[in-house]
Symmetry: C3
């Protein structure tokens, strides 16, 4: 199992000691070394599993999940990551709990965490709420740990908030790194993060924001394009500009899908709701103004329908570098003529990229496992080496 | 632990290598050797567990379950089987997922399977749908595996479809084998698979079809009886005839419960809906014809009520071989005067057979575990022997 | 790991052999030695876990949970306890099962238990029902075991019934023991178990009943106080009197919160519904009298509202021993001005005791684990010593 050395040697070059006992909220709160350490551990865990080596570092312990929005792939990715490390998932189903029964976030967070090593939360529906809620939970359990209530401090993993979708975007980016054969090949590559038409409405901003927040750190040219009115949070754009400058890349915005696709090496066409509309909706929900929500929904769908030309067609793909850009999507995509009449992407484009898209998704369980691993393990190189030399089979029946 | 040899020696006599990396849809798609190998492994796993030997062959990994119909015993049997082998169950709850959100079966199947070793599905409500859906899922993950999306190919286990209920019928048959002391004692035994009255309607055909599809392969005389109009799928009847001829047994059909019970060694009286009605209902659901469904339901209940005499009473049991036939049911049964006013079986008959009925059910977790085991393990004899010699206690506290 | 001796030595002094293969319904069905053995094992398991020693005594097996009422902390405590010992939780969700489908308690209990080592049930809503149901389940699986249906007999743990809430009260009491430095320091201490106002209605009696049933056994003075009409079950009061006499303590009742709080060392102010009203409600539900239930609910809320002065304020706390009584609550509490306008406790009191309250709750997972452990393990001293010497890390990454 000499292959493990390639990962531990990489980690030797990276300063990731602040990940230890930390949480994972937003990619831009992490240093570049910490991002790269996460990829290295994700790849190492995958290499061990593919070699049938068990990577269980826990002999008992819980991974708590709280989904305030529907989820298939993130739910199963979190479940897979916990299982891979030896944690059992217990879902906090707010409907079955006594949470409505007047208890505070601080209380619930501690009550579920006596044997929890990680808490994963999806809370992406309302602007200004999801990320704040996660911080409230993380603060509560850290205090509980310091006060002697909890024997261990569960790490918090953001499974999508109103601002970022770090497990998704980290997986997307690792897919890109693998596709192009290493970060050294990414300098100057062009990424088109563009809006695309969808007949549904109110999709979170966390994916485009996450993409421009992370991908600008690799020396690439990130081009954000959307119809007028579909702006993302202005502070994220500012940060993307800064990132690009620091990494020797570029960050541009436009209202032209064509401009973004032109000579792109990577395209990520995806629907989202305008930030301003999401803010308005959050306020309407806060006020319980159901009538106002209905009106807003109608407005948004009408506005969306004005931009049906924002579709990732074969013609659009032809404009990309040699017509062969890597097509990305967080899935599920709105595929024209398949899952809807008119949508984000033409069926033939989607079909051609189906296998790479599924591989893109396959990184997520490992990314989550790496986030947990690095927050729990003080000496990651040593533990990876020990797992390899322990050499316990994941499947005994081979 | 020399007892393990009795099982490995049996396996030496059986060709079951095609079970390796396969799925389990219908019993009649499996050779007799493969069926017998499944029983042998089920019994071996049980013997090991009863001897407090852990049979965990996985050190991590998921068992995915998808129930499109309510379930208690199959759900817990699947959960128990996965747990016995070291897999953690993760339920795909379609209501909590984004499946409605426009994703295809192929996509969902891959997205949930990155760390899945088995997928168990119950989908028994609509004729022509359930089994087809399972094949779609199995095909999707096999392709995903071949395309390099999945690191392992999850095996598919049919937890009841519109055609067969293989985990149930395999458990029923193993109960029979144990009851009569081996398959060598089954030649010429008579099995009465009969319809019985129930005040509910629309019960799947998978049990009677599964019974005539499997039990005709053991040289027994299988007698299917039901009121006129309650026919099962004609191709299954044809197959049962062929099976019986090949195994030196017989397959007969009639519209007389008495004829079937006469001198029977085994009776399996159970309600089901007519195949033609189930087809009609499937079409009505497809058309969204709720009015038509109501009308059909009323018709079916009225028709059922004409056959209240199809009850497994003490008098009926007296007609069986020495009045002592083995009474079977997949449970829950409609017990007259207990769970309903008039039902499938008299309370005194049910009560007398309660313990054997529960034992019948106790085979199911082991049958499912054996199905998974044989699809995953290339050299089952070797792995069983290694589990015995590893001798890890299932319960450390003895 | 010499520390394990302090626990095994304590166990040497206690006769707890009747816990082996038993169930845990009510604390007063257990001897004092058995109660103390449960605390000793709970503390031992905690010491091992804090020392990063795995306490998995099961290498596979299920813990079944059945919650007939919402739950956060008990649900997670049960899940944590099972996980700590190596059991995987499988929830019996009656909505997803076929239980309505005419099967009996006896049948369901056996059907889910083929690989179950423990069944935890919460059923606290109806007087005369919850505890009886648990006994029905326990009897069913014991019969199943004796009849050869089940290979092991799952132990039943009462996760709150209509009479007692043993996992809660046992945790509360262990918190008291730790707070005062041992049971030898409890003689003569005064406990005020008092009613308190809550804007909700129909809260179970199991907590006050559990408290007076258990805490009177430690030589303390237990003072039960509530407004007229809020009586608990008379037989529990009688038992509390007997307990107190036997332990050299006292049990008094009054209708004055002040009298109870006066010089109290421990206060437990909490809302509950009058026993007579709960009985009436149970009957109304039984009769399906929804109108009657509405009327009763209104009456109860009106009656509650007459006693808003039953609040644990700073002034009330000043009346306790040196103004420093240990404040207890099973949580979630109705905190005035926080979770409701007027409630059980003033915000400043609750806040000051937040950390001890959370620590109180932290005992529950270990209490449940100890209950399971002692019902499963024949020689607890030996197994604890073996776990310590096995010294398998709970977390491999330290």
């Amino acid at each position: 199992m000499t292959y493990i050395k390639q990962f531990t040697s990489k980690l030797d070059q990276l300063n990731c000691k602040n990940l230890y006992q930390g949480d994972f909220f937003l990619t831009w709160e992490k240093t570049f070394d910490e991002i790269m350490a996460t990829y290295t551990v994700a790849d190492a865990l995958r290499a061990l599993r593919e070699d049938n080596v068990s990577t269980k570092i826990f002999d008992s312990g819980l991974g708590i999940s709280l989904f305030r929005d529907n989820s298939t792939r993130t739910r199963f990715s979190f479940g897979s990551a916990c299982n891979l490390l030896g944690l059992e998932v217990q879902d906090l189903d707010e409907g079955k709990s006594q949470i409505a029964h007047g208890e505070t976030v601080r209380e619930t967070a501690n009550m579920i965490s006596f044997m929890a090593d990680v808490i994963g939360i999806r809370d992406d529906m309302y602007i200004g709420k999801g990320n704040a809620y996660m911080h409230e939970v993380a603060k509560a359990v850290r205090e509980g740990y310091l006060e002697g209530v909890l024997e261990q401090c569960p790490t918090l993993v953001n499974l999508q908030c109103d601002i970022d979708h770090p497990t998704q975007i980290m997986a997307d980016m690792n897919h890109i790194i693998h596709h192009f054969g290493g970060i050294e090949n990414l300098k100057g590559k062009k990424v088109a993060m563009t809006w695309a038409y969808s007949p549904s409405y109110g999709k979170p901003l966390s994916v485009p924001q996450g993409v421009i927040g992370l991908m600008t750190r690799f020396g690439m040219e990130v081009s954000l394009a959307h119809p007028k009115g579909y702006e993302v949070m202005p502070e994220i754009e500012k940060m993307a500009l800064k990132n690009a400058a620091a990494s020797g890349g570029a960050f541009t915005t436009s209202n032209s899908m064509e401009a973004a696709f032109k000579d792109a090496d990577i395209v990520y066409p995806k629907s989202w709701a305008p930030f301003a509309a999401m803010e308005k909706r959050t306020k309407l929900y806060g006020d319980g103004d159901l009538e106002g929500i209905k009106v807003l929904e109608k407005e948004l769908l009408t506005e969306n329908a004005r931009h049906k030309d924002w579709e990732c067609t074969e013609q659009m793909m032809q404009m990309t570098r040699e017509g062969k850009a890597l097509y990305l999507h967080c899935l599920p995509a709105d595929i024209s003529g398949v899952s809807c009449k008119e949508g984000e992407v033409a069926a033939s484009v989607f079909d051609r990229y189906r296998v790479p898209l599924y591989k893109q998704a396959s990184h997520k369980p490992y990314i989550i496992a790496a986030m947990i691993f690095l927050s729990k393990v003080k000496y990651p190189q040593q533990v990876l080496a020990e797992l390899a030399s322990r050499n316990r089979p994941r499947f005994f029946g081979v």
